[in-house]
């Protein structure tokens, strides 16, 4: 399946791609990509990330409208809505607790989660979980490239329209809309800050 390339090589090769061939994204590859994204770490292991894979033309049209008709949305054979549902994650905290933990450690984790969220509003909880959706997004983009698919992650869109297009509950937050398929263009070479612009050593 994969390309055999390293994480660093995969990150070097990945570029934002806005033109795609008509070839569908294989279900097997999507499952590997999403399972890899799901291996990202999260606070309390709550894994608030959720994914909607969209291939239906009518839904893609709605997503295109929600993403200001950026050309990669209509061009891609599939779209991935990356969202977070922290309310759901907290409600089902038992699913997040590691099965190897003894009951006293389980109760301690439950108590930590209760303490963390006790004084947060629903909006604050959802914004808290939203950030962790982007850790999974980082994993997802690298996993897609490794599976031989190119992507274009979009962070700018009409969030309510996206939620409406894929019938998401009101409280969730949309982290990103990702176009995915076999690239039909080269993309621009990376243009990134040199390390000494973004790193300090203490």
């Amino acid at each position: 399946m994969g390309t055999g390339a390293s994480v660093r090589e995969t990150a070097m090769r990945r570029r934002a791609i806005r033109a795609y061939t008509a070839e569908p994204v294989s279900r097997a590859a999507l499952e590997v990509i999403l399972a890899t994204a799901g291996l990202a770490p999260s606070a309390f292991n709550l894994q608030p990330w959720r994914f909607v894979i969209v291939e239906r033309a009518d839904v893609k049209t709605l997503l295109s409208d929600a993403a200001y008709r950026q050309r990669q949305v209509a061009a891609a054979p599939a779209l991935i809505v990356v969202y977070t549902d922290t309310t759901d994650a907290i409600a089902r905290v038992e699913e997040a607790i590691h099965p190897d933990l003894a009951e006293d450690r389980r109760e301690s984790q439950r108590a930590s989660v209760r303490r963390e969220f006790a004084r947060k509003t629903e909006e604050e909880r959802e914004n808290w979980g939203l950030r962790q959706g982007y850790i999974a997004l980082g994993y997802l983009l690298l996993a897609a490239e490794e599976q031989g698919y190119q992507t274009s992650p979009m962070l700018g869109f009409d969030e309510e329209k996206i939620k409406s297009a894929v019938a998401l509950p009101a409280q969730v937050r949309v982290a990103a809309l990702v176009a995915i398929g076999r690239g039909a263009e080269e993309g621009r070479p990376h243009h990134r800050h040199p390390l000494d612009r973004i790193v300090k050593w203490l």
Copy 2:
């Protein structure tokens, strides 16, 4: 240098590690890890992420205090403060614009950035950029594992104490504190939601 493992294998192998050997993290490996993190995508290519690498004992003590004395902070030979400075990123937008773009496209990108932030407060701008710090964090964790180093990303800490410990400007946001070193424990196997719990197909 790297392990030659794939993105998926690296994600499978990576676990939260809280005990480390005394071996320092090599400067060359850190540079590869940070350069890989810097390849993450960001809106308008603004790359708001910044990193402080901490090996000094006195600063580590301050960070330990800021992170509620979680044992991996004192145990790790190095710590990485992952933060975002969106104010700086916006102020120096010229650095983010791709050199291949012609002047009309450059002006269009400047205008998009101005439009995006015109009605945002400083706090809103920084919260906007903070999310993108987590994309880079996902890259960083995989790159570290690939370089043969284990990590423990912490998302819970006293943010003001972290900023004070490493002398960061007031407006920036701390995305994560990452302990890094050669692991001295196995860590717990992954415990993650099955795909059908987190994925919908449309």
